[in-house]
């Protein structure tokens, strides 16, 4: 068996994962090859050193920092949650549209023409409302004049069709 192959098998050999034949081959190679034998003992020493690696305690200051995370996160989350709350979304959408319209108006290159157009539309609206009001008034007057006739007609109506005694 070549040294490269033995190197690959050293770790599985230590963990007892080789077949009987492989194990024998590795052992006979280690008996004759000083280099591999030294590597094998170094590997054993490496694994032993790693196993004995001590466990350290966590400092109080680190524990304080970790315990502080949830409350810090909650504060941070609060501001975002408020904005991202679904019930606020229609309001935020309306505000966005309103801002878009205002900015469109503010930065429109022909703002004066827009102003005139808006004025004209408002005047037209006023005159339409005035006309409607006048019509309603004349209708109410004619209704008042016919009031007596309407009352008599209503009294004469006999919905059940019974004869008067």
């Amino acid at each position: 068996m070549k040294c490269e192959k033995v190197e690959e098998l050293l770790s599985p050999y230590i963990e007892d994962e080789l077949s009987i034949e492989e194990k024998k081959a590795v052992e006979s190679h280690l008996e004759t090859c000083e280099n591999c034998s030294l590597l094998f003992s170094s590997m054993g020493e490496t694994m032993e050193s790693l196993t004995e690696f001590p466990e350290l305690d966590v400092s109080e200051s680190l524990l304080d920092r970790i315990y502080a995370i949830p409350s810090r996160k909650r504060r941070f989350k609060f501001s975002f949650d408020l904005l991202l709350r679904p019930s606020l979304q229609p309001i935020l959408a309306a505000a966005t549209i309103l801002l878009a319209i205002i900015s469109l108006y503010m930065f429109h290159p022909e703002r004066n023409r827009v102003n005139k157009f808006v004025d004209r539309q408002i005047h037209l609206g006023y005159s339409k409302v005035g006309r409607l009001y006048a019509k309603a008034e004349s209708f109410a007057t004619s209704l008042g004049e016919q009031k007596e006739n309407i009352l008599v007609s209503l009294k004469n109506i006999n919905p059940l069709g019974r004869d008067e005694d």
């Binding site: 770790s11 170094s42 020493e45 050193s49 790693l50 690696f53 966590v58 400092s59 680190l62």
Partner: protein, 167 residues
Amino acid sequence: MLVDSYSKRVFNMAYQFAGSYEEAEDLTQDIFLKLYNSLPKYDFEKNFSAWFLTLARNYMIDNYRKTKWEKKTRDEFNEHLLSSDAFDSPENGMVREESKKIIWESLNYLSPEIRMTVILRDIQGKKYEEIAEIINLPLGTVKSRVNRGRLQLAKILKEKKERKNEM
């Protein structure tokens, strides 16, 4: 509860991986912050420890990749370790201590993936199956990484010893 159960484990893992006490503290804090952000995504049918250690492992390796040029050195070997129990026993002679120092310092020569696998297997003593779950790789790949890591460290130790004997 979460902090009590996992802070020591994560801190030690970070220290074994990064080799710097301060950096391990920062990494631990960042990992817990990431944990709180990721908790809503946790699938309750999964093993929590493995899930959390996967998250920690991924964070450490990603962080290492981003800042690897600053991560060449580890803390002085004696700074935090000599005060612990491993060096109290009288049979731990100078030679043994020297070997431990070499192994400890050589961990940084391993690639982050191999280093993490060696840490999980040889320092933390986890089973290969557990490691495969944490690093989300087939068992064969895990074993191959452990073998390569041990071999690299053993070669470094052997070379340093031979050089010392030549002097």
